[in-house]
Assembly symmetry: C2
Homo-oligomer: 428 residues x 2
Amino acid sequence: MNEKSFIIRGNICYSEAREQLSVTDRGYLVCCKGISRGVYPVIPDEYRDLPVKDYGDRLVIPGMTDLHVHAPQYPFRGLGMDLELLDWLNTHTFPEESRYAELEYAEKAYQIFVDDLKKSASTRAVIFATIHIPATEFLMKQLDAAGLKTYVGKVNMDQNCTDTLREKDAEASLDRTAAWLRETAEKYPNTRPILTPRFAPTCSGPLLEGLGKLQKKYGLPVQSHLSENLSEIAWVQELFPWSSCYGNVYEHYGLFGKEAKTVMAHCVHSSDREVELMKRNGVYVAHCPQSNINLSSGIAPIRRYLEEGIPTGLGTDMAGGANMSMFRCMADAIGVSKLYWRLADQSRKPLTMEEAFFLATKGGGSFFGKTGSFEEGYEVDALVLDDSGIRTAKELNTKERLERYIYLAEEGGQIVGKYVAGKELLLS
Amino acid sequence: MNEKSFIIRGNICYSEAREQLSVTDRGYLVCCKGISRGVYPVIPDEYRDLPVKDYGDRLVIPGMTDLHVHAPQYPFRGLGMDLELLDWLNTHTFPEESRYAELEYAEKAYQIFVDDLKKSASTRAVIFATIHIPATEFLMKQLDAAGLKTYVGKVNMDQNCTDTLREKDAEASLDRTAAWLRETAEKYPNTRPILTPRFAPTCSGPLLEGLGKLQKKYGLPVQSHLSENLSEIAWVQELFPWSSCYGNVYEHYGLFGKEAKTVMAHCVHSSDREVELMKRNGVYVAHCPQSNINLSSGIAPIRRYLEEGIPTGLGTDMAGGANMSMFRCMADAIGVSKLYWRLADQSRKPLTMEEAFFLATKGGGSFFGKTGSFEEGYEVDALVLDDSGIRTAKELNTKERLERYIYLAEEGGQIVGKYVAGKELLLS
């Protein structure tokens, strides 16, 4: 039984709502069997017998959800950043992903990814693998053993890609996916499968149709890409001339929200019609600011999505994004929202620090249910942060220390404790 | 005698020209009394008796020049990132800088700044202090002792700022500056003074006129800010209604290039006339991409400046920028240039990795003379980089390792050796 009951003491910060940050200095987070019973300035009588893990002056915040990341692209993160999406896929991504046909390479690469993710700020992640089943199952097993909560997708692709990554046809792709689902649907306590059509251009109509049926049969969540790049959007319109927008392609096949819990990465250039569809169907946006910079895609109008009430979180999108750190991802989200305001639309005010923190924790976390906050009833994913290496002559309050950590996590910050659903991970 | 002669062995990368990166695997960088005698695949006979420092498979690159940074703002980096320039100055910056009237605080704060800068990728920096002379001299002394090569400016301000930072009047400001120059002009081997009118709005005409005379008298270089923010530019036009552009204000008083070697931070919104003036006078641009994001200033058209032949380097602009790392600064420069291309002007193609590397090394380094490269005759500023902590399953060549280091320096990279003008600094 790994979900013991205990209390975490520290300077506790978490989001209650998008612009509402709760801060309790030297507070007590009560965790009973993995679930928060609230944060208190003094221990309530009913919990006074629970053991206290006292982290002194350190910061305690919710674990973060990386809502979009490609595990097989981890080996080339930070490389080949001079191309736009479609050329980048053909030049760098597809050749690398083809290597995962070889299990030995996949094991070596995925082990590094899982080790690094375990030490990162992410407690949860929604992950693309490749089309390869043995490699994908190895990844799922390793993630499960690491104690991280994840969705992992075996990718579907049956057209418009290099031979080495193309499944024979729709039927073959569906059969392979069904076999993978039978094997993994119930296998891992921490790792669950997610349907993963790579993106509309690499999936034929029959494949998407079959995936829609699989979705219904297994009640699976869905992840894919949407309106990342202008050439990509034009291509989708060519391939699916009947569609009213890119998102309509997925919707047509039952892969765009409603009963199918769905997350779409990017949504940089979504049309009004598409935004309306996302809103109506409750489709999640995985905002990947650094990837959208690196691949010259543009800046997603996140303020608009928040105002429309579209569920939104943050993704690193490695290797479109180079960095694994969700702190960096928050800082990037704030940064691009300022440039969007300056260069694109001054009616969309920039994201605040509180909002970025919300997106990285409670916003994206909600894809997993009640996670990403310390409010009562939430699963306790927690990070303990040591910011003593980010030196300053100035006295700072807890909120300032959190803000600074977002910008400077990689210049002296250290994650010294990590809990997932109430279970402490060993980081070293 | 600290400038010994020796050879550094490693995987050596340096810029020859803006788009030309020289890579020599397991090469030999010959350093004679602080000056490069070139990089060779095998040791030339004439140098065969020199001692070799063999860094094995590590990367060896030139040290970097931070062309614009505010030392007194270091304590609040990463904080208060929700305001534009003028409000940010009044709310966060001026109150913090006022504290440097108290030497005890200044010593505590500057010691941290200098310690961290010493361990950073920067071997050279062009630095703003405050108006306070004892604090500024302490900073200069510490930087000198650290072995870094720097220009440091006591700031001039006699109007339009909080009382606690305003020098009494132009005459007082000039007298104090002259006294500071007499004290420090020849005092430190590594730290030199630079004239530093904060920016046009906080300097009266008589002050700028007097600074122009001091420039001529001492032959000093000059640093200031230029066309960072739209409200700032409008304000300068109000304050100096006779000026043809913001830069013309400095030019009018002899503080804008020509014989006065000058670096201007930002140049985000420079008019055609201003760009022409910068070009004609050889004014350096210190491009500070992260600061321009954080303060919602916009994106400087660096491609244009490069095409016009305007000398350009990179600056962290802490605390407008949060990060001290010049690797991060390079990645940010590439990133914003992509967004500029996408959102502002598709005739300005994004910066390449080679160009960003040039800007951070040879481009900005040229403000100090022949530094920032390993070509023969250049002072040997060098960094030895250990990238083994940035794990990957992929085999990478040296150039790929360098590209990746730029993006991932803070996620596993480590500077394990640092040389300034041929002298090795002790980093731990």
